[in-house]
Symmetry: C3
Subunit: 274 residues, 3 copies
């Protein structure tokens, strides 16, 4: 019989990776090698390596929707980092729902704002502890100016996963860079948002929270009225529904809203309150 | 010296994932987060996330060929699920060669038939135990109608991997949905099959079992005679051979049968008995 | 509090995989199933499965740059194997910086040469121990002629990771096949290399070691002078820099050197010494 006991001090830590590195090069594998050299028992999980290159906002969207399904002790490494090697800071931020490690370029603020741990301007609320990753003991011995994912973020995450206190990693920060996800505009009779992601199925995911849509409201997209919110992808030939990320999305039954409705990132999505 | 002892109760369980989710979105990572929250020691293995969208038969083909190389205690999650949120059942099926979890839409019947655990009409033979996943204790607290992979299948697999008895998960089923893989026609002098998959190398894999081809039989495909079965990909410029899945496939040496012979899924493949 | 103790005999071994299999088919997952059936605690890491089909040299480049970031006890499986099933040998090579398992077709020589464990002609130096994988006890019971990754290399790697002595796996070899990566030509005033890889960002990576470039030397590529080495990707609109692999690469700021400069694999890259 198969039975895996849960001895607390043997529960492996989880480190997730979200990057724009793609999977064809060895970059992601190398980060995992560095992590396992420091924290050999870690469960490493890929959230996505298909963030569009240098698109920090898209990385925020992935991290925001995914991190809440992981154990709270998890360390989430995000590397969408066009400014690697320049003056932008490297940070780690511990919150009650997860610890985040990566460049301080706006990647993490939307995730923290969503959980109430940070203000619009990036000021941290007391539940969140952030540090700048300056302590050389928690980096690789040689630090390049081109691959901080390997040299700084992977080692920091591995040490945090093994129980190193976040304060050991560097000086405290009270503010992080503000985020880069466009917010919907909330009018009295209408919410005006936009498509922020097209997924693998061609579903067009907007920045409008499902919980903000009143009962009976009608969704508009692709220059037409889609209708009120449906409950499944099979409810009609073209549906608007609250997708698995909690956001309003537009879908075509057994097809692609991207291809069949011509939707793409940045296109408007509206909600008309009845 | 490196040595990992095999203490049976410390052997981590294996959960495999086969989906049509692709790897660009966070969907697969989120399922892994849910699994690790319940069963932190699990070894999670991706079989494929490139099943063509909503192509249940293609998912069956992947699961059928891959699952037999995993430990028998493994739990195989399959999510090719166009009917998510509709009336189709959610199932778990334990067999002597593996446990399967996913939608009851024909995905698993070909796998079970191949092992002799299920009849053509989906009736289960005594070696297989199937249940409908109804017990809310083994789901996420909130269950969406759009992402059962995360809300129902991942938690069920994780609980099964940790040793929960399958009967705890819901009421017993005696039949599952029949499968969706086309079967070859067996004539007195000829077997008539078809291409069911083109792999990454451009090899065209048919639905004809290698073991069903008599010695000296000649393979036909792409409107021409390919010849008798070869033993390696280097045996000729164009070869028919029994590939790693146990099925007859057509290959071009150091090239692509898809591109160079124009083969695609659904094209006929014949075997002429001498 | 989260803390994972490092009890040496509980540290899981690492096995990496580098192949040209792609990720759409179940081939990689099946290799992992075989490994976990033998060595259930193993940490399996994908380095890359996007080696261009049958391009042995490209596989060498990935392994050479990536393996040094993994623990020295790691076992690196490389499968770029156009000659599978023919007379080419199957090998395992243990070195002080890692153990390598795969076909003996030139895949590993560049990795070993780089570390000083092998001569240009493939003769091994004393620090490296190589064997031909002939012992049937460390293979799958049935060995196909089409998928040695599954039948021979995965089992060998798993047994090595569990502590089996390399000499158990087969007879000793004193020489392996010589490598297939083009070497740059070193003239008195000039180094002449070439692009050996275009990465996911469109950066063009040459075969010129960063350490071989004298201070003030000027890099040429794409029919123009790029300039001396920069330190970050943001240092100019077009930069030459020592990338994360230690090799000179050409990059376009927030863009693609492949697309914007028209660079591709095989194109010349020059270094003019001042």
């Amino acid at each position: 019989v198969l039975f895996v006991p849960l001895i607390p001090w043997l529960v492996p830590a989880v480190i997730t990776l979200t990057t724009d590195f793609g999977l064809s090069d060895p970059y992601v594998g190398v980060m995992k090698g560095v992590i396992l050299g420091i924290a050999p028992e870690t469960q490493i999980v890929d959230i996505s390596h298909a963030v569009p290159p240098q698109n920090v906002g898209a990385g925020s969207i992935f991290l925001r929707s995914a991190h809440r399904y992981f154990p709270m002790e998890s360390v989430h490494v995000g590397v969408v980092d066009p400014g690697v090697g320049t003056l932008r800071k490297a940070v780690a931020i511990r919150t009650p729902t997860g610890t985040f490690v990566g460049p301080d370029n706006g990647l993490f603020a939307p995730v923290l704002m969503d959980q109430g741990f940070c203000a619009h301007d990036g000021h941290l609320l007391p539940a969140a502890v952030a540090v700048e990753l300056q302590n050389p003991n928690y980096r690789l011995p040689e630090t390049s100016s081109t691959f901080h994912g390997r040299d700084i973020f992977a080692p920091a995450a591995a040490h945090l996963a093994r129980g190193v206190e976040i304060q050991q990693l560097g000086p405290r920060l009270t503010q992080i860079e503000r985020g880069r996800i466009p917010e919907p505009e909330q009018g009295p009779r209408e919410i005006t948002g936009e498509v922020i992601h097209i997924d693998h199925f061609g579903n067009a995911i907007s920045n409008i929270q499902g919980t903000s849509v009143p009962t009976g409201a009608v969704i508009r997209a692709a220059g037409r009225e889609i209708g009120p919110l449906s409950s499944t992808y099979q409810s009609g030939p073209v549906v608007a529904l609250v997708g698995s990320t909690g956001l309003v999305e537009i879908a075509v039954r057994n097809g692609s809203a991207e291809r069949q409705l011509g939707l793409s990132v940045g296109d408007p999505v509206g909600v008309r309150v009845p």
